[in-house]
Subunit: 334 residues, 2 copies
DNA sequence: GTGAAAGCGCTAACAC
DNA sequence: GTGTTAGCGCTTTCAC
């Protein structure tokens, strides 16, 4: 634990040059002779010198850092998006500060505050819970894009999300194609994402001339909740279930099997999100896959653009999800 | 997008006082009169003032930030630990910078470098892949604790991990208690964690007077790999499988069922890690649960201690894992 | 209690 | 090409 790290000044005196030359050399300026550069690099190496990001950020008045706020680290959907965003902005020379709201709106606010104190140059909000006025305020302070939540539009803030309405339509179309008519939707209820999916379901059902039947999954889109909701829904004798997300869909499958029925022979099940986990052979869940990589890349790209031109009009990208046919859907029994 | 944020100087002149007074007031010093404090707070509020963390960190020569490096964001085990660590250090006034190595050793190194440039005051390395000499170097620069990897001991670096050897023993004991004798271990192979689990398995088998049979899961501890390994292992006609982690265990279950056998009636399966997912009713995996919360809290605590006294001797905490009896293990058939 | 002044480590004009 | 200088926004003596 060196009591104090070497500074640019130490490097300069060891190399026998001035601070500014060292600074130039270290940032790869062409106006440094090769000889000096070599000397400086050697001195830096020997001293174990490392740039102080705080000092640098203060001097250049840019942090070269963007902040990422994620609703909760445990959701594999978010993890994937974060990963892509980090990779993408890094290529453009930005560091990232990643914080998790821990599924707690209050913590989300304080974490956000921390990010801003660090003078992040941009913000990526992944499935946050921030109220509209907070969002609006932040957007005036710093370039900002929300991912996975597109229900609230505030000036100057880009949104990128998957098209939940179209995605839900894909699910219904798939089931209808398999001959299903009695398709019940297990919805996540009041949150914006679930509502969009429910809306997509309804409009697709209508388009096919079928009757919608929505059953709310109480208590969040977990497998336990999906289990409970499916148990109830089974009394309506559906031949297929379209469930608002994959975790709940897994719970629904368990409920169906526990009721002595088979998936997909008796009841087909399709989820939403396309989590990797669904590919587990003993689950093999048919699902609507979100374009996670595309989502992350687009979000990063939009943010980078907005950092360059902060006043550009807000964009809204809706990326297409796609059907992932696996083993839990099959022909309707007649 | 305000072109430039208000500084302490702006607050001072709006409140009609000096910069230093504002600084004192903002950090809650008692040597500021209530009247002045109120004025200052109002001015700050009105201006939308926010401390510049870089400037502060430069002035106080402390970043009040710790860095967390995680092997990969997707593993739910790591996500949980990260969450706990973040919560814990936050309570002690530290911010966190979280970076993911993205399962790529090279990226791990550069991310680490970034962390250090930000002058983090401590580092939590969760299941990293850093070579020993890098580890040793870092440990001399900054307080450091590794979580989930305890195979390499370097001076001044604390380690906290679950006791894989004991945990594997728990799994074997459980199976033996159920009457199993022919217990095959599906191991992750060359990585340190897998080796500890294999060692624990072997010693427990020996203690019970049983013969060890280890089958390596090639290609990482994924469900697909587990499936393949189990398929092979079945030719040995085991009555139980102890698999090195939960994902691989799920693959193993699929293999068993695909072979026309039943879990747990024909073959019992027990995994390791106790991931939340294993609780899914249609998986219901018996497992050895790592004490994730305890791991995270202990790691944070150790780091905080070490930040206070950097020269203290390195600690090594092995936390106990516990048996999570669910549905995939049952009595051995006779 | 309050203000002036120095300095944290770095960069960016600007001279030479 | 290289050195000098003046800050970036903040904290922290030290006088008053």
């Amino acid at each position: 634990m060196s009591v104090s790290r070497p500074t640019i000044h130490d490097v300069a005196s060891r190399a026998g040059m001035s601070k500014s030359l060292v600074s130039l050399a270290l940032s790869g300026s062409p106006k440094v002779s090769d000889k000096s550069r070599a000397k400086i690099e050697r001195a830096a190496e020997e001293l174990g010198y490392r740039r102080n990001a705080a000092a640098r950020s203060l001097a250049v008045r840019r942090s070269q850092t963007i902040g990422i706020l994620v609703l909760d680290l445990h959701n594999p959907v978010f993890a994937e998006i974060v990963d892509v965003v980090q990779r993408t902005v890094r290529e453009r020379g930005f560091s990232t500060m990643l914080v998790s709201g821990g599924n707690d709106p209050a913590r989300e606010q304080t974490e956000l505050e921390t990010l801003l104190q660090f003078q992040v140059e941009g913000l990526i909000l992944i499935s946050h819970r921030l109220p509209e006025h907070t969002l609006a305020r932040i957007a005036t302070e710093v370039p900002c894009v929300t991912v996975t939540r597109d229900d609230v539009a505030v000036a100057g803030m880009d949104r990128v999300s998957n098209d939940d309405v179209a995605g839900a339509g894909l699910a219904v179309d798939h089931l209808v194609e398999l001959g299903h008519k009695k398709i019940v939707h297990l919805s996540g209820g009041a949150n914006p994402v679930s509502q969009a999916r429910a809306a997509g379901y309804e409009s697709a059902m209508r388009a096919h001339g079928l009757e919608s039947q929505i059953s709310i999954v109480p208590g969040g889109l977990t497998d336990a909740a999906g289990f409970a909701a499916a148990t109830t829904a089974l009394s309506q004798q559906p031949t297929a279930l379209f469930v608002a997300n994959d975790f709940a869909a897994m719970g629904a499958i368990a409920a169906i099997e526990e009721a002595g029925l088979h998936v997909p022979d008796d009841v087909s099940v399709i989820g939403y999100d396309g989590i990797t986990l669904g590919a587990l052979r003993n689950i093999n869940l048919t699902s609507i896959a979100q374009p996670l990589v595309a989502l992350g890349e687009k979000a990063a790209e939009r943010l980078l653009q907005r950092i360059e031109s902060p006043l550009a009009p807000a964009q809204h990208d809706k990326m297409r999800s796609r059907l992932l046919t696996r083993g839990t859907t099959g022909p309707a029994r007649s």
